[in-house]
């Protein structure tokens, strides 16, 4: 877990960002001036981020319940302990949002002030490439595991590339025309570097994702089991914000939007933005539109630090 040092924390509760399992978290803190974390920190929040590191054979047995019922609650409690705050605002990005939803649903006593999910899939009816083969069981997760029993990064990379097969080519074509612009070239290099810098997906969590979330569509069918216990998103009662990107081809809007109906909070809202998957957190538009709106949601549900205990 990372803590982003700030001399100007003015808002409580602290924010805990839960990052995805399949890529590296530095995308949320890319460069000064283009950083999701920096923006929130400058808005007065005390920002923490759970980074899952690079899974090895030690992590291959990690299941969804390990993340939702053990690691995230442990991180929440640690943030409370470090800051003295009674609660935490949980922000989940992509698959991290899914884990955050599960964590909040599995333990309604988790001290959360609010929950925000960004580009988080819940409906796996059409999860993109190879969905049918995975659903039918023609393609088994076991068959693509590496020697550490995790899904290797190159398989994930190919999977994401196939979702929009010509996108990379189009990006390069667009870049040729702007080669004279150092800022654009640098930004392209940073983003491309991150987009091809995946980490292994722990095998057991991947198997559960395919079996429960894709095959059963357990979140939509309300049949999710964690540690053998039924977990329903309707158990979530904290204020909830669901951030959805309309041009997201990795987590398509129809996969992310149902979360709003599934979550049981009386105070819940959706933020539908015209952006892509990464564009929600990185880039000019993210800094002008997305992050200020997320920050505003959090600010409305926070308190000035002096008044917090």
């Amino acid at each position: 877990m990372w803590r982003y040092r700030s001399e100007s924390v003015s808002q409580a509760p602290p924010l805990l960002i839960v990052y995805s399992l399949v890529s590296k978290s530095y995308i949320l803190d890319l460069v000064p001036g283009n950083s999701f974390v920096e923006h929130l920190r400058d808005d007065g929040f005390d920002v923490f981020m759970v980074d899952w590191g690079i899974p090895t054979e030690r992590d291959s047995r990690n299941g969804l319940e390990d993340y939702a019922e053990r690691y995230i609650p442990a991180a929440v409690d640690r943030v409370c302990e470090l800051t003295g705050s009674p609660d935490v605002a949980l922000v989940g990005y992509c698959f991290g949002g899914l884990l955050s939803l599960m964590a909040a649903a599995a333990d309604p006593d988790l001290p959360l002030a609010s929950l925000t999910t960004i580009a988080t899939p819940v409906d796996f009816t059409d999860a993109g490439v190879l969905t049918e083969a995975l659903k039918r069981g023609d393609l088994k997760v076991d068959e693509v595991l590496d020697e550490d029993r995790n899904i290797p990064p190159h398989v994930l990379l190919q999977y994401f590339r196939l979702m929009k097969p010509t996108a990379e080519l189009a990006q390069y074509a667009g870049l040729i025309d702007k080669l004279w612009d150092d800022d654009i070239v640098n930004a392209h290099q940073l983003l491309t570097g991150w987009a091809t810098d995946h980490v292994p997906f722990p095998g057991r969590a991947a198997t559960q994702t395919v079996d429960m979330l894709m095959r059963e569509n357990a979140l939509m069918a309300d049949t999710l089991l964690l540690s053998g216990r039924p977990v329903s998103l309707s158990a979530i009662r904290v204020p909830y914000l669901n951030v959805v990107a309309t041009r997201d081809h990795i987590v398509v809007p129809q996969s992310a939007r149902p979360a709003l109906d599934l979550v049981g909070s009386p105070d819940k809202q959706e933020l539908l933005l015209e952006a892509g998957h990464i564009g929600l957190a990185v880039g000019r538009k993210a800094h002008k539109v997305t992050i200020p709106q997320i920050s505003e949601f959090l600010r409305q549900r926070s308190r000035p630090l002096q008044e917090s205990s």
Binding site: M1, W2, R3, Y4, R5, S6, A12, K24, Y26, D29, V31, P32, S35, V37, R41, D46, V50, D51, G53, I54, T56, E57, R58, D59, S60, R61, N62, D66, E69, R70, Y71, P73, A74, A75, D77, R78, E81, G84, S85, P86, P111, V129, L130, E132, A133, D138, L139, E143, V144, E147, D148, L162, P165, T166, L169, A170, A173, D177, S308, S309
Partner: protein
């Protein structure tokens, strides 16, 4: 100034072909092809693995798959230990959470009586224990969350101490 001619031509071709390629990739034929390739690949690597293992065992040496098996067993054991530790920690967490709540409840009820108490004590202690935890700022924390050594390497701005992350 608009896009150059070549880029407009490329965009037109990409715009026309892109959706078709996508449709094919998302379709059943492509899935079937991937499944076949995957099965052939794992079949071939299985055969190679079995044969090479036999060769190494002939000269009484462990094969890569033996080492892998051992690593995986250690990984499983490590997971079991973490699971046990997690169970113990989660009980402790629940207890401390309840204690914190009780403490807050007490503090809230004390606050109800505060004016009288403050008048007597001269306001001593008010807000003195309202730490915002900044003394701990910048620590990398255990919290049961996994390692992040790689991130330290991959994000140079952290090394510059820009955000004060260790």
């Amino acid at each position: 100034m608009g896009d150059p001619l070549w880029l407009r031509a490329f965009s037109a071709v990409e715009g026309a072909l892109g959706p078709r390629v996508e449709e094919f990739v998302h379709g059943p034929k492509f899935s079937t092809a991937v499944v076949i390739v995957q099965k052939v690949q794992s079949g071939v690597s299985g055969v190679v693995e079995r044969r090479t293992r036999r060769v190494w065992h002939l000269v009484n040496l462990p094969a890569g798959s033996d080492v892998r098996k051992l690593r995986n067993q250690i990984g499983d054991l490590d997971h079991e230990v973490r699971l046990l530790r997690g169970t113990v920690e989660s009980e402790a967490r629940k207890r401390s959470r309840e204690a914190r709540r009780a403490q807050q409840g007490e503090a809230a009820s004390e606050a109800g009586k505060a004016p009288a108490a403050t008048a007597k004590s001269g306001g001593k202690g008010s807000g003195s224990d309202r730490g915002n935890g900044l003394a701990n700022s910048g620590r990398r924390d255990g919290a049961g969350a996994p390692r992040s050594r790689a991130q330290r390497r991959s994000n140079p701005q952290r090394d510059q101490g820009d955000h004060g992350v260790e």
